[in-house]
């Protein structure tokens, strides 16, 4: 361990040499000694992304359209509750939306099929049979529960749906969000006068909450240009439908959508410059496994 350093050396040199950042060698420095290379490896804000305003606005369209989906659903329910629309009308409308939607989905799908068409048909048959079979039971479920409780439960569940929706990967719908939405729809549907109403309501819930996000995701993947138009259509439909039932609600909804789409991205972009993240070699190690070399 002998090293030559004379008496005129720098303050951190010692008869045994400069200070080394190791723990296994006994050094004459105190335990909390640091030298001039302290915090050399500190980095600030290396992962901050530069957001562009209009890109963010575009992405926000997904959140806005989901809110509008909920609004559309509530509109439909309200119409049936007030007797403006009959269940058979709604059922025909559902068929009318489902079949073209499925066709569009198939067209955009192209060659890769994860499920054969027969499995899709089977699923559809199972849905219809179950829903139709259970509608009389579902109708009488909340008879003894007071209306306020039912409304409160549905509101909480729809809020949970919005909060837990997997906005980054909506194609297989997240369990909690879908279940919450279906629970809310069952609660609301059981308040309707007849078993057929319940059936119609549940079919629409399936369309709006389960199948529409899959289609939207497919659209985004294959035909990027159509996404803003689809989102805009849904938002307009939500506002318009709510306006027919409850004008005040339409106003509120449009306000909310504007805030969400225009004000929130602005906030995000403006607040980026206040970010102050520090990184360094003391961070927790992130293991990035590249599994592609295992998959053939």
């Amino acid at each position: 361990m002998g090293a030559n350093s004379g008496p005129g050396a720098s303050p951190c040199a010692s008869p045994v040499g400069p200070w080394r950042k190791v723990l296994y060698a006994r050094q004459p420095f105190p335990d909390n000694h640091v030298d001039r290379r302290f915090l050399e490896e500190l980095r600030r804000n290396i992962r901050v992304r530069q957001y562009r305003y209009w890109a963010v606005v575009r992405e926000t369209g997904l959140v806005a359209q989901q809110v509008s989906c909920v609004a559309v659903f509530i509109t439909l329910w309200s119409c049936m509750d007030q007797g403006r629309l009959g269940p058979s009308v709604l059922l025909w409308a559902a068929t009318g939306c489902a079949l073209p939607g499925y066709g569009l989905y198939e067209m955009l799908g192209g060659k890769d099929r994860e499920r054969p068409r027969l499995a899709d048909l089977q699923s559809a048959a199972v849905f219809l049979a179950f829903t139709f079979g259970f509608s009389p039971v579902l109708k009488t479920l909340t008879e003894s529960v007071s209306t306020d409780t039912v409304y409160a439960m549905s509101a909480v569940m729809l809020l949970a749906h919005l909060l837990s929706f997997p906005y980054t990967q909506p194609s297989p719908p997240g369990s909690l969000s879908l279940n919450a939405a279906l629970f809310a729809s069952v609660c609301l549907a059981s308040r309707l006068p007849g078993a057929l109403h319940t059936f119609a309501m549940l079919s629409w819930a399936l369309l709006v909450f389960a199948l529409w996000p899959c289609l939207l995701h497919r659209l985004r993947e294959r035909a990027e240009w159509s996404f803003p138009w689809a989102a805009g259509l849904v938002c307009a439909g939500g506002v318009g439908g709510l306006g027919a039932v409850w004008p005040g609600g339409a106003l509120l909804l449009s306000l909310a959508l504007l805030v969400l789409t225009l004000a929130c991205p602005l906030l995000l972009v403006c607040l980026q410059r206040h970010k102050d993240n520090i990184h360094g070699p003391w961070d927790e190690a992130e293991i990035r496994e590249d599994l592609s070399r295992f998959l053939s």
Binding site: V137, L138, T140, S144, V145, F183, C187, L206, A210
Partner: protein
Amino acid sequence: MVLKIFFPTCCNTADSGLLIGRWIPGQDSAVVLAVIHYPFIPGQVKKYLSETQNQSQVDLAVLGSWSLPKDGQEGMDSFLKDLSTIFPNSRWLQLSREIGKRGFACQVVHNRITPPDPAQGGTDKKDQIIFIHYDQRKVMLSQLHPIHEESPGEESSELRAVFHTVAQSGPLFLLDRYDEGPLKLTHWQSEGREASIVVELSKQASVPLCIVLTWLVSLWQSKCFRSYSPGLFFRTSVKMSTCVQTAYRTNHFQTVFSTKKATSHMEFMRKANIFVSFLVDMSLGLLLVSWLYRENHISQLANTLVPVADHVAKELQELLEWLMGAPAGLKMNRALDQVLGRFFLYHIHLWISYIRLMSPFIEMILWYVGLSACLGLTFALSVLSDIVALLTFHIYCFYVYGARLYCLKVYGLSSLWRLFCGKKWNVLRQRVDSCSYDLDQLFIGTLLFTILLFLLPTTALYYLVFTLLRLVVVMFQGVIHLAIDLINSFPLFAMGLRLCRSYRLAEGVKFRVLCEEPGTPLHLMMEINPLKCSSVLQRYRTPTYSCYPRDSWVDLCKKLFMGELIYPWKHKTTKTD
């Protein structure tokens, strides 16, 4: 060195002679068992000692000499001193007493056969002697607790050695003063042996009686318990307390009537306890029978039984109608309510018809069943418990239906709640994992979850009501079983022994100072401390198939909450050894 000499009180006034007893190995103490009087021939003494030693397995020896000078026996002292040469021993005790004085004088002569042990100091020091007087008859009959089965020579403590020596020396005490033999002894029985004609006769008669009874019991066992194939009969018979009680009593009879004589104290006590409790049981049962069959009590009972059963069924019907309405203001799901209510009402209707069908035969059945009380009060109580179980069978059925439905619901709900949150139970790892479900599974799972959740209050209420009813019946049966258990297991003989002859069950001894004068040895009186009553109960309790609660309260509440069927009493199997 302190020398302890255990001296029997019966020899306090004995004539001069030789002291017979035993040196306790490893301790500085000796137990005096008897005194052999002058005149005697030393050769005959030695022969008698060796014979008695063979019979009793206690190593007897001549400890020393005893002199109580009476008129005309002045020359005894020197004669007795010389005897130490005839009976060689490492120590020779010379006890003497004067009439009128309370204390003894004692001199210990050490025979120099072995050189003095240097660890003890070498020289002849003045030995300090303590005389401990004991009542020979009481010590002989008493049993020291806690009981250890030890062989002579390996006793764990000095007290045990003393008790053991006296108890085993029975053959020594057979010669009394009316015997025409060469030797004259003084011990507790020397005034004449106690005997009674009744005891002797019963001892003679008991052997053939036991043989006959054992043969009868084995016949009964082979007929009843082996010819029926195991299976349904076995399972139902295990549940019926009458059959359990019969099996239990049969085991007891086998123990009591076996021709093998009880060798150890515990066996003897167990046999005695069983016999006495059986006698008491039978007498109580006969009392009950005499009361039942007098003044037509049986027909009165039968006449009240059917209306009571009817009344119970009617109460249940009203309860169900109340549940089908809006019970306690709770809002039930009407459709499910109606279904369940009608289902249970139909059951009650069936039950009432069954009771009405049986009503003409009730009196005759009761008459024959009442006869079974002859076999003992415990039998009558177990028959009562079984009758109660049969009469409330419909409550049991309702409870099982309600519990199964509720249990299914709770399990379904918990599993579907996990699906709601997107998780799954991993059976392999016994934990909850996340899982990505298919669309179909999610849809149907949510529907079912909603249905089960909203139907939960209705099912829970039915379950609660029927569980409470079942618990009431179980409590009642539990009380009856407790009474049966008490009669079965209470050690009447041991308690009687403790109360009447308390010296027979000893926990220890206590000492009382008799005479303490300077210059003379200390005299203590040893009195037996009887066993505490609670220890008697604990130790001599007959083991039974007692019913005790299977789960703790916390476990029971958890089971009730989850809807698992509860069988609150667990039967301990009878211990036979």
